[in-house]
Amino acid sequence: MTELSSTIKSLRSLISERLFQLNECFTEDCDLYAEGLDSMAMMQLILMLEQEMAVRIDPQDLAKENFQTLKAIAILVEKKRFS
């Protein structure tokens, strides 16, 4: 499994456990905002990324598209880890 797909997998289980249940047909490219990711859930998501994935989210990361899909978040996480 590549780094990216393992990050996507962890994200999926964290979001399902703490924010909203993602069903089997929710792919890595599906829209998280349509699923209920709002500013309130965003707070939990950011905390999750910082605590569980050991990255620090900065103000310049806050573009809406960075959190739109599981894949987008995973790419952001990988990029942050790498830098």
Partner: protein, 430 residues
């Protein structure tokens, strides 16, 4: 001959509690009852509309079918639809807001509180609202009727009813009548909310990017130890009134071992809510220009209790039935809000229904398993802890209130079979 003074204490239906469920139960019972029948609505505060005016709940959840791929449609006909139309007219809110897979309608606690009073008084003299009156005892007489002690400024007055609808939110009547009262371990109880408002706030708070930035800053402030982690359950939502916003926080109850049957602990947790709100306000004022000119926060009269005690009905509605969308022969209301679990004060966790459809609530979960003539609606219906996380919201309270009120009126008129009551209600609400 019955003396006029005695006549005035006799009712066909007595509704306890004037929250979202209670006002609908009383109005529906009054409309359903035969001519000349009388309905009493007992409310301990000076407000009608419950958690709206009392706890500053400023959205209606559960009003619309849970399907944002289509235009919003009201899930329950009758009073829920009437209230939806009235609140939109009064607030000028054209459309509900899509929030992920569900719609919510913004309202205003004061406007809703006034509307609740207008709706009740529009019913005329056969619906008697007794305000600032508390039910302190209920007994069931040998003829099956109920006698209630009502405490108010005049002292204790006894009233009588053929049927009772418990919309007290805490299943108070179950305690008085010696019936089963269900609850959850205090560590799993849904955490109560503390909602306050700020006025004179900059228009920029509406901006989605600002809200994302606020979320990030709050997380960093919590991680740096500048704010307690219970702040993480907070939301900021702009009011229907220009320049005003509401902030909702979840209260961490573990330290004070809060449980809703302990009034001293409720006062303690409310005090913590105020302290937390002040901390958050100072943070907002110090950091963001939008809050520089903001007024002092307005605190609610009460905390927003989400869960306390429930009745044991002829059916106990469970989470699976809601998620799977199980059909019942005696469906009288629809649940349209996902299971919104708030067990840890750090934000909500949503579980959506499998099909993007409203789920059914049977009349049997609004009828006592033990005492004929007792109905209930709102937060104290017969449901599990998990199912309550969906059905407790105001939109659903309107619907269960309406159904329970109609059934109680049918019972008072001599129609006491639950399946027959259900069919009648289904016909009327078609």
């Amino acid at each position: 001959m019955i003396k006029p003074s005695e006549q005035s204490n006799r009712f066909d239906v007595v509704v306890i509690g004037g929250g979202s469920a209670g006002i609908c139960a009383a109005i529906a019972a009054s409309r359903q009852a035969e001519r000349g029948s009388r309905v009493a609505l007992i409310e301990k505060s000076g407000h009608l509309g419950g958690m709206g005016p009392l706890a500053f709940v400023h959205t209606f959840c559960g009003l619309y079918h849970p399907d944002t791929s289509r235009p919003p449609r009201v899930a329950n006909l009758g009073l829920p639809a009437e209230i939806e139309a009235a609140i939109r007219r009064l607030t000028g809110e054209d459309e509900p807001t899509a929030m992920g897979r569900v719609y919510v309608l913004r309202q205003h606690p004061e406007i809703y509180g006034q509307l609740a009073k207008e709706l009740v008084s529009a019913e005329g003299a056969e619906l008697v609202a007794m305000m600032e009156s508390e039910c302190t005892k209920i007994s069931r007489e040998s003829d099956g009727r109920f006698t209630l002690d009502i405490l108010s400024a005049e002292g204790v007055r006894q009233i009588h009813g053929s049927s009772v609808v418990d919309c007290s939110a805490d299943a108070l009547a179950a305690d008085f009548l010696g019936a089963t009262r269900m609850s959850e371990n205090s560590d799993r109880l849904q955490k109560p909310a503390f909602i306050f408002s700020l006025s004179n706030v900059g228009e920029g708070v509406r901006d989605e990017h600002f809200k994302m930035r606020l979320a990030l800053d709050l997380v960093h402030a919590v991680r740096a130890g500048q704010l307690p982690d219970t702040i993480l359950g907070s939301t900021l939502r702009e009011s229907v009134n220009k320049g005003e916003c509401f902030v909702s926080m979840d209260l961490d109850t573990t330290e004070v071992q809060w449980d809703p049957s302990n009034p001293a602990a409720t006062a303690e947790i409310e005090k913590k809510g105020r302290a937390l709100a002040r901390q958050l306000c100072s943070f907002l004022k110090a950091r963001y220009s939008y809050f520089k000119q903001a007024t002092e926060p307005r605190f609610p009269p009460s905390i927003g209790v989400r869960e306390s005690f429930r009745w044991l009905g002829q059916h106990v509605l469970n989470a699976e039935e809601l998620i799977e969308g199980v059909s019942f022969p005696d469906t009288v209301a629809y649940a349209a809000w996902p299971l919104e679990m708030r067990e840890d004060a750090k934000g909500a966790k949503f579980t959506y229904f499998k099909n993007a459809k409203s789920s059914e609530i049977p009349l049997r979960s609004l009828v006592s398993a033990e005492i004929p003539g007792v109905y209930f609606a709102g937060r104290c219906i017969s449901a599990t802890h998990e199912a309550l996380a969906s059905v407790r919201v105001m939109g659903t309270c309107f619907a269960t209130g309406q159904a329970a009120g109609m059934a109680a009126a049918l019972f008072a008129s001599g129609l006491n079979q639950i399946d027959v009551q259900a069919r009648k209600i289904q016909q009327i609400l078609k």
